[in-house]
């Protein structure tokens, strides 16, 4: 602490995906500050982030080491979070406006009810003045989101839904003030504030939905290696941040480390997990002179890599660019609420204008004509319309979330309901994306306990698969001493005077890494094969998709031999060995044929395709890039949630359409009444809140729709 206080403090953010419980929070916050270089640490559980204030001379590896000693894997997050915090600020501003208008609405209603129940004379005037005192500041404060947007539209000589709202609220406020000053019988302050409240609720729900999708760029940075040990001389190395790496440098990449830049192997050999980049699940062997890519994981042994491209020139950065471009195409999608607003705004203006003109011609005088026009504006209250979409979507998103599906954006549900062709990645999407051991049940109990003891000691993916697979059988690990791991070969240990090894089979190619062998004193005892298994309900889900009128096709980066059995088993077509670019083109081709494509994938290589699809889904086990590019994420091993989500999306669209019909029906009844000058504040208040509650109630029907 003293050392940290002496030098200037810098703020750093880390993503720590392993934060799971209160214990983790306590361990991190109390454990990190024990490090001399760290002054303060604060966990944000919702976003799985840790904010650290540390001494400016604390180097990144030291900080990551501090996390590691507590048992957490941390990834530094770049400064790309500004955009996300701006969005969060919008949500906060809306929430403040909702609170203010809600407070004002309740108090004005209290006063209004007294007026309606028969207060007259001085009492009525007093209540009207009190209402005005509450309403006017509220309109000025809570109306800003609408006024701002309306003003922007008007300045560009366009109109949107916010224009009639703003005019209506302002006109009604001014008219009511005039009424109050001239001891009139009716004031519409309650209507104006209630309108704001209901509309703000809709806006806020919408904004909350959108807030969930953020930080795509920071996630990408997380997948890159954050830096590397670079050789200064022949024998000494020092840490260089990924941003400072340059072509020509030689990095030392340890086993289990992600590469921070593209390069060629300049020493050593190892196998590399390319699944992030290509979707290929079997590790690839690399030797001297082979090209390796940033973001991929070195599995077996330390290698030296001469950097050929760093930062923005790497293959992973290229994918990020493709993704950005693809996502831009999708942002042109016009949401159903916006389409409704386009029709709505001119219609309301015309009606109000007609009412004003009509009553003027009928000789009612400008005061009464204006009052009626204002009543028309406020009774055609778009609050039912404004709530129709977000209310249905937030209820649907909530019930999907309980079913294990996370929806990032309201428009995702709209787009999901329209899809008619599913393009599915194989590895990690149709399959579980993790090797599963075969034939464990045939091994006898002694061998099982040997394997478990050895496998537990290693963090190699195959060892982890074995540990997972053996947990089912209730075996105890054998008593094996002095276990050590040789990268690239396996785990070795001593078991009552014998040497036992678990690892690469003797005399087999390194590339065939999905087999492991247990040997006692160098003699093979058991061979275990691994395979990436299909999700348990893959066939059922594909069938159900067909039942919904959605065809399916596999788009895989994997080799044809690896894809063919899966395609045969599911009875669908497949395209293989596709690069991210190929997938993007395949989607564009289908879109040109008039299909609305649902892209389902998980890897970084699917990122651009996920961003380009009309809608997209990723499993919870997907790479961060995949999760960020996708519109929604389904958790767990089953594939059925995909179908359930589509059904839910369609049901949501049906409810949204019903809500629009309700809103229109309400207007058809209410507008003529207002037009004829029959609407008193009481009628307006009842009609308005009634229609909003009806719409919200209808949306709540979606709550029970998923088990």
């Amino acid at each position: 602490m003293t050392a940290a206080a002496a030098s200037a403090l810098v703020e750093r953010d880390f993503a720590v995906p392993d934060i799971r419980c209160a214990g983790c929070i306590a361990k991190l916050e109390q454990g990190l500050v024990r490090d001399k270089r760290i002054a303060a640490a604060r966990v944000n559980f919702t976003e799985k982030r840790v904010h650290v204030s540390c001494a400016s001379d604390a180097e990144m590896p030291d900080l990551l080491g501090a996390f590691a000693t507590l048992g957490f894997e941390a990834h530094p997050i770049g400064t790309g979070a500004d955009e996300a915090s701006a969005e969060a600020e919008t949500t906060r501003e809306l929430l403040r406006a909702v609170a203010v208008s809600g407070f004002a609405m309740m108090n004005i209603m209290l006063l209004s009810v007294s007026v309606w129940s028969g207060a007259t004379g001085a009492t009525r005037d007093l209540f009207h003045w009190l209402s005005a005192m509450i309403a006017l500041p509220t309109v000025a404060y809570a109306g800003r989101p609408f006024f701002r947007s309306a003003w922007r539209a008007l300045r560009h000589r366009r109109t949107n839904m916010d224009v009639p709202i703003s005019i209506g609220v302002l006109l009604v406020s001014v008219m009511s003030l005039y009424e109050t000053a001239t001891h009139g019988a009716h004031a519409y302050f309650d209507g104006a504030v209630m309108l704001l409240f209901f509309l703000l609720c809709g806006r806020w729900l919408d904004s909350v939905m959108r807030d969930r999708a953020r930080g795509g760029v920071t996630a990408l940075l997380r997948n890159m290696g954050t830096g590397a040990m670079v050789y200064r001389h022949e024998r000494s190395t020092h840490w260089v941040d990924a941003t400072a790496l340059e072509p020509g440098m030689v990095m030392l990449v340890a086993a289990g480390e992600r590469l921070a830049a593209d390069g060629v192997v300049a020493g050593g050999s190892s196998s590399i997990d390319l699944s992030l980049l290509t979707g290929e699940s079997a590790p690839q062997t690399v030797r001297l002179g082979d090209a390796v890519h940033a973001g991929t994981l070195n599995l077996d042994a330390p290698i030296r890599v001469r950097v050929t491209a760093a930062g923005a020139d790497t293959a992973i950065a290229d994918i990020a660019r493709l993704m950005g471009e693809a996502a831009q195409g999708k942002s042109r999608y016009v949401r159903i609420a916006d389409r409704a607003a386009r029709l709505y705004a001119p219609a309301v203006h015309t009606l109000a204008l007609l009412a004003f003109a009509g009553w003027m011609i009928a000789g009612a005088g400008w005061h009464q004509s204006l009052l009626i026009a204002a009543a028309v504006l406020i009774i055609t209250c778009p609050c039912a319309l404004g709530l129709a979409v977000p209310a249905a979507q937030i209820v649907a998103a909530g019930s999907l979330m309980r079913g294990g599906v996370l929806i990032k954006d309201g428009s995702a549900l709209e787009r999901l309901s329209e899809v008619d062709l599913a393009l599915v990645d194989k590895t990690g999407t149709l399959t579980l994306g993790r090797p599963e051991a075969h034939g464990l049940d045939r091994l006898d109990i002694g061998i099982k306990s040997l394997i478990l003891a050895l496998a537990q000691a290693s963090r190699h993916p195959l060892s982890e698969a074995l540990t997972r697979g053996l947990q089912v059988y209730d075996v105890r690990p054998a008593d094996i001493r002095s276990i050590r791991e040789t990268p690239g070969f396996g785990v070795e240990g001593h078991w009552s005077d014998r040497t036992v090894t678990l690892g690469r089979p003797i005399g087999t190619e390194l590339g065939d890494a999905l087999v492991t062998q247990l040997a006692v004193d160098g003699r093979p005892v058991a061979t275990i094969r691994f395979a990436d298994q299909l999700r348990p309900d893959a066939a059922e889900a594909i069938e159900a998709l067909r039942g919904e009128g959605i065809g399916a096709m596999i788009l895989s980066g994997d080799r044809a031999e690896a894809v063919a059995p899966v395609a045969r088993e599911l009875g669908i077509m497949a395209q293989t060995a596709m690069s991210p670019h190929d997938k993007l083109e395949a989607i564009a081709r289908q879109a040109a044929l008039g299909h609305k494509v649902l892209m389902i994938g998980d890897g970084l290589n699917d990122g651009p395709a996920l961003a380009a699809g009309h809608a997209s889904m990723a499993p919870g086990s997907a790479s961060d890039v995949g999760k960020n590019a996708a519109d929604c994420i389904f958790l767990g091993d089953r594939l059925m949630p995909v179908v359930e989500t589509i059904r839910m999306a369609r049901r949501t669209q049906a409810i949204v359409r019903q809500n629009f019909m309700l809103a229109i029906f309400y207007n058809v009844i209410a507008v003529p009444l207002a037009f004829l000058g029959l609407v008193t504040p009481l009628v307006a208040a009842i009609a308005m809140s009634g229609s909003s509650l009806l719409v919200v109630g209808n949306a709540l029907r979606l709550k029970a729709a998923i088990r």
């Binding site: 306590a26 109390q30 500050v33 559980f45 976003e47 906060r92 929430l95 609170a99 203010v100 407070f103």
Partner: protein
């Protein structure tokens, strides 16, 4: 009427108090990490803060 002169300011004042409390908690960042807040009650915090 006399009752109203007392009661209306009281009602408004209490409402404003609630509103102010909400704003204060919003600015203190109490709505930033709702899931975390639910878990923090389990965190034992009996040691004094290092100053």
């Amino acid at each position: 009427m006399n009752g109203l002169i007392l009661l209306i300011p009281v009602a408004l004042g209490l409402g404003l108090l609630g509103l102010a409390a909400f704003f204060w908690s919003l600015r203190q960042g109490q709505f930033e990490d709702l899931d975390g807040a639910a878990l923090r009650i389990f965190v034992e915090d009996d040691q004094d803060q290092p100053s």
